[in-house]
Amino acid sequence: MYYASGGEGMTRPERMCLMDFDSDLTRSTVEPIVLRLVSERPMYGYEIIKVVNERTEGAFEWKEGTLYPCLHRLEGAGLVKARWRDSEGGRRRKYYAVTRKGAALLKKKVEEWGAFTAAANALLFGTAGA
């Protein structure tokens, strides 16, 4: 969602350039993205990485060192709750789901991001953006 709004109208090679993102920009987007994904359904860490990779067509390729500290911060702040469950294959995995507090924050962040990208797009591309 964030990618789509920031890269609308760009070609595939142009979008791929975004893989080498500025670390501050990445840090500010990881938490809302994780919140967004686990608000769709409970997900485990590896699943989140795969979904991010798929939906960004490889533009975002998160590492364990990016995702798990983020998940733990969110859990510590009460924005997500974790629960161990046995998956279909029998492997025990830790699933994360958004809490009510996390959902409220996500809503706020999405609105904030929309306004921010619209303003930034207007300045950078001369368009109203998303």
Binding site: G45, G65, E75, W84
Partner: protein
Amino acid sequence: MGKTQQPAPDGMPFEHLLDEATASLRDDEELRLDVRAELASHLEDKRDDFVAKGHSDNEALDLARQSFGAPEDIARDLLAANRRRMKLRALARLALRAVIVPAGILACVLVFANTIARFGRHKSALHAMNAVQPLGADPVSGMAPSTFADLPEESRLILLGDPARKTESARQRAIWEAHPDDMAFFGNYVTALTSEVRPGHGEDLFEGELRRGMEIDPGNARYSLLLASHLLSAAAEEDWSKDTGDRLIVKDRALLDRAMAEHLEACRMPRLRTYTLDMLSLRLGLLPPEARVEDRLLRTEMAAGILLPDLALHRRLARVVPRYAEMLIAEGREDEAREILDSWFGHASLLAKDSWSLIDLLVLNAILSVVEDKYSEVYRDLGDAEAAEETRRLAGRIRAPVQAFVDSVNAESGDPTLVAKREESQRFLQRSGGIFVSLVMPALGDEMLRITPDALAPGAQLEHTLLEQAGLVLVMALVLLAMFAALLVTLRWRASLGADRGPLLVLPSWQDAAHILGLGVVAPLAGFLVYTRWTGLAGREFALTYLLPRFAVEVVLLVATIIFLALSLGSAFVRRRWLELGEEAPPDARGRRIGIGAALAVLWAAWLFVRGEGSAVIVGTIEAVVLGLALLVIVAVGVMRFFFGRDTRRGRFHGSAARSLLPVLAGAAVLIAALAYPYLGARERDLLRRDRLMSIDPDDPAFTKPERDLTCRLKAETLKAVAEVEAERPRRQ
């Protein structure tokens, strides 16, 4: 993310990689294991993906490892992300160790200490009630001054006297000294003095105070009667044995003449006031409201203790009079003999007016019985058959109401229908009344027929509540024992495995804690409450004496249920966490748990329908003890196996389970103490308030209300007879 991400070195196995990546979390071993297990699951998923893409197992392993990133960087980021959580968890662990566990122990200790203190007060009160009280002894005065520490100084003075003084009479005298115009306080002081005077000890003081009483309280026969009795003690010895017949062994005739003169003088006085009822009423009114059973026992003890200060001397004087009259007749002093014999009516009418308890009236009845037999016998010896018959008839008339009551107490006398009713009533009292009620009420004869089940219920339930409080102490003792066992097991595995690999304190979430304590502790207690109060299956309408064995089994079943549920739920939680942490745990003993749970359920179900012969609920003591012991052994064996298993391979699990269950048990102790103890206390207060049968009204004191009603009725009938006899006697004379 903004850091150098070097891939993990080739050849590093997952285990080592995971240990390095989570090394920064070592201060919170449970959290570290949790994160480690999560990362392990992640790596395995990744390896599987590489295998699915066509890589060999070894290649997939290497690729997964390489793409993991630098473990040092991950460790640093994980620490930063979890630092706040680790602090909170450290605080939670500290709270469990330093607050919950001590609070659990404290709850047990407080319940024990309070119970021991209450038992001490019960014992003291019951001992005082059972002990042979010296004449005029006041139970309150023997109590520690701290008993009434909350009362104002003036109230404490009236209740206890001046505790600083050495003798009882001196302590009681202090009340009169503070209120010199109050004759009740002087009478109370004299009552204390009567129990202290001995031949050659305190006689002058006693006589002096009696003379003072005659002076400041003229017209009150009590002081003359006390002086007569005192003089009689020095003047003669009595031998009332059946073998020899009534004999008076005179030691000092002059003193005997003085004693009888005082007696005669007293019997001519208008009134007799011992002031015992006034003092009792005053003191009862000063006591704080009843909150505990011992408060009621204290009141009963007070009523019993200050009830009978002078009754023995009245009987003694009444028995000596005919023997003294015989001596006068032998000396040819027949007129004086008639005069002293005629004193019986004055004596009897004084006693009738000052009677307030059934025992007062029974003593009057006994004295009148002596008059009927012995006095009329002496008249006959005088050759005055008419006076003999008149005395017998009039004394019999005055004692008729009380004698009719005495006959009714004998359940086997009277018409068969009434006898059957009395027997049924006695059985009813024994089955449905409190212990004290079933002891006291049958002595009230047909008065017990008027007692309704509604009037009996609060007293019987009060005793059940006391027993439930004793059961609560047992529950707390067993929980404390289980806590101690858990501590021992923790220490054992800590010593065996070392501090690094020692037992973990697994933190439950609040949902897990609520689940364990709710289902393991609150639910059984609530179930027990429903069972005993509202199902009608527990037989709580029966007296404690009938229910005691049944109750003992129920408490054991309840304790077994609480311990089984709390330990099962607690260990299931620890086991689940243990597996989540990727640690080795013993196989789930679900079958055994279900078996024990089903056995307990069957026992409960069977127990609900146990019925004894001749009663809806009673069971034999032996069955109860055998079943109780069997249950305790089963629970003890289960607990010992759980705590003291020798499987060292899984020692860390057993140690961690024990360590983690320690705060669960402590929480259970706090919860039980916080829920059950106040509830039982409130119920005790409520039942005390509702039990009017055994309550003592300061404005109208009596042992029991039925006794008060009976005494009032008998006293009114006796006084009516006294008035009729009084009207008749002058006409004859």
